[in-house]
Amino acid sequence: MYSDKVMDHFMNPRNVGEIVDANGVGEVGNAKCGDIMKIYLEVEDNIIKDVKFKTFGCGAAIASSSMATELIKGKTLEEAWNLTNKAVAEALDGLPPVKMHCSVLAEGAIHKAINDYRIRMGLEPWEDNITDLDDHHHHNNE
C-alpha cells in the first residue's frame, strides 16, 4: 500500500524531535481524527536553519512530516511557504488517495509554524488558504 520511500521515511524519520528554543511552532490536526502534526522551526535571517517535528498518526502522516521537514530545511520562509502538499506526496513517490490528507496536514503545519514566527517577530501573518485543518477529513483537499 505504501511506496518504499514512504516506508523509508516512516521507519527512519528525519528531523523527529523538538527544538526547545524554537522561534516558530505550528500544530494542526486533532486526536479525534487520529492525526496531529507539530512542527518546530529555528529561523535565522529568513532561513530555516533547523526544523523538527512530532506526529501522532499513521505511517503516511509520519512519513509526510519527515519528508516535508527535509524539503524546507535550509530554505527561505517564502520557499517553505510555497511547498505544496502535492510536492510532499510526489517526493514520497505518491500516497494512497485516502492518505493524501496527511500531506495536506504537513503543508498546513508548516504554514502555521511560519506564521507563528512572523507573529513573534511582529510581522503580519501571511494569508493561509488551507483552512479547517482540524477537521480536514471532511474536506477533499486532494
Partner: protein, 396 residues
Amino acid sequence: MEQKRLIYMDHAATTYTKPEVVETMMPFFTEQFGNASSVYTFGRKSKAAVETAREQVAKAIGAKSDEIYFVNGGSEADNWAIKGIAWAHRDKGNHIITTKIEHHAVLHVCEYLENNGFEVTYLSVDENGLIDLDELKRAITDKTILITIMFANNEIGTIQPIAEIGKIARERGIIFHTDAVQAVGNVAIDVEKMNIDLLSLAGHKFYGPKGIGALYIRKGIKIENLIHGGGQERRRRAGTENLPGIVGLGKAIEMATENLEEHNEKIRKMRDRLLNGIMEKIPYTKLNGHPEKRLPGNINVSFKFIEGESLLLMLDQLGICASTGSACSSGSLDPSHVLLAIGLPHEIAHGSLRLSLGDLTTEEDIDYVLEVLPKIVQRLREMSPLYEDFIKKGEN
C-alpha cells in the same frame, strides 16, 4: 520489505488450514469430484461425504444434521438468517433487536432492513462489551420477530450471556440468531441448551478452509431463502455444493471441538502471559473487553498517545501480524464502532491493538513480542506530540 520470521497473531482474522483438513479435502478435488446432486453412484459418493460433514457440524454444536445448511461463509450465513427471518415473519412484526457491536455482516443487513420498513433496536453495551439483559427485555415489543446477538466479539473478544439471551427469547416466543463465527472452536456451544434458533459459523476461523460456512436453522423455523436457483440443500440454498470445502469444514469442526477445553487452556495460558507482560512493561495501556468473559486467544489493548496503523506497520517490519481498530487502517473516518460502543474516546480507540493467538502461537512468539512491542510503543510515543504534552504537564 524483508521479514525475518512470521509471528502470526491474527487468528481472529483467519487461520491456516490444518494439513489433516487439507488431506481430507484433496480427493474431492481430483478423484471423488462428482456432483453431489447427481443420480449415479459416483455422485452419490460425493453426497455421502456431504452428509458426513453435516453430521460433524451438527454434533459440534448440539444440533441435528438436518438442521445444518452449508453456505459460503459467515457473511452469507448472517445475511440469510436475518433477511430470511425478517421476510418470512413480516406479517407478524417488523422489529428486530441486535447490538451496537455486531460484525458488519449483521449491522449492514439491519441497516438494509431499516431501509425496507423494518425497525431495529441496537442494544448498547457496558465498558466491558456486555449487553444488559434487562435492557434486552425492555426492548422487546409485540412487534419483535428476531433477536440477533453475536456469541463472541471479533475485536474485543467479549462473550455474551448467550444461554440467558436464548432463555429470554424462548419465553417471549421470539426467534434468536447468533453470529458464532468467532466462538466456534473457542467456546463450547449447545444450541439445544442455549435455546439458539439460528447460528452462523465459518470454516476459516477454526483451521478449516476459506469460502465455506454453515447456518444452523432449528427445525420448524420458517425462513425465506436467500440464494435462489437449483434444489440443493433440501431446496433451501441453491448452488452446486462446495464439496471439498464442505468435507474440510466437517473435519475442521470435529478437530476444533474434540479437545476444546485442553486446547483453550493452552492458548489462554499463553494469552495471559502475553497480556500480563504487556500491561507490566508498557505504561498508559488499557485493556479493552471483558477481563474474564473473553475468547481465550484474544488481546485488545489501547496504548495512549499513539496511533494503531503506524504500530501495525512497525510490527509488520518485524514479521508480526496483528490488527487495530484505528480508522487510519481502514480508510474510514471513525475508529472501530465496537471500541466507541464500549465508551473509548476516539483518540484512545485509534491507539488500539488486537493480538489474537491460536495454534500457530508459540512461547517463543510471546517472548519476542514482549521484547519488541514495548520498544515500538516507546518509539512512537517519543514521536508523538500528545505524549510530549502529557510529559510536560507531569513536570509542571
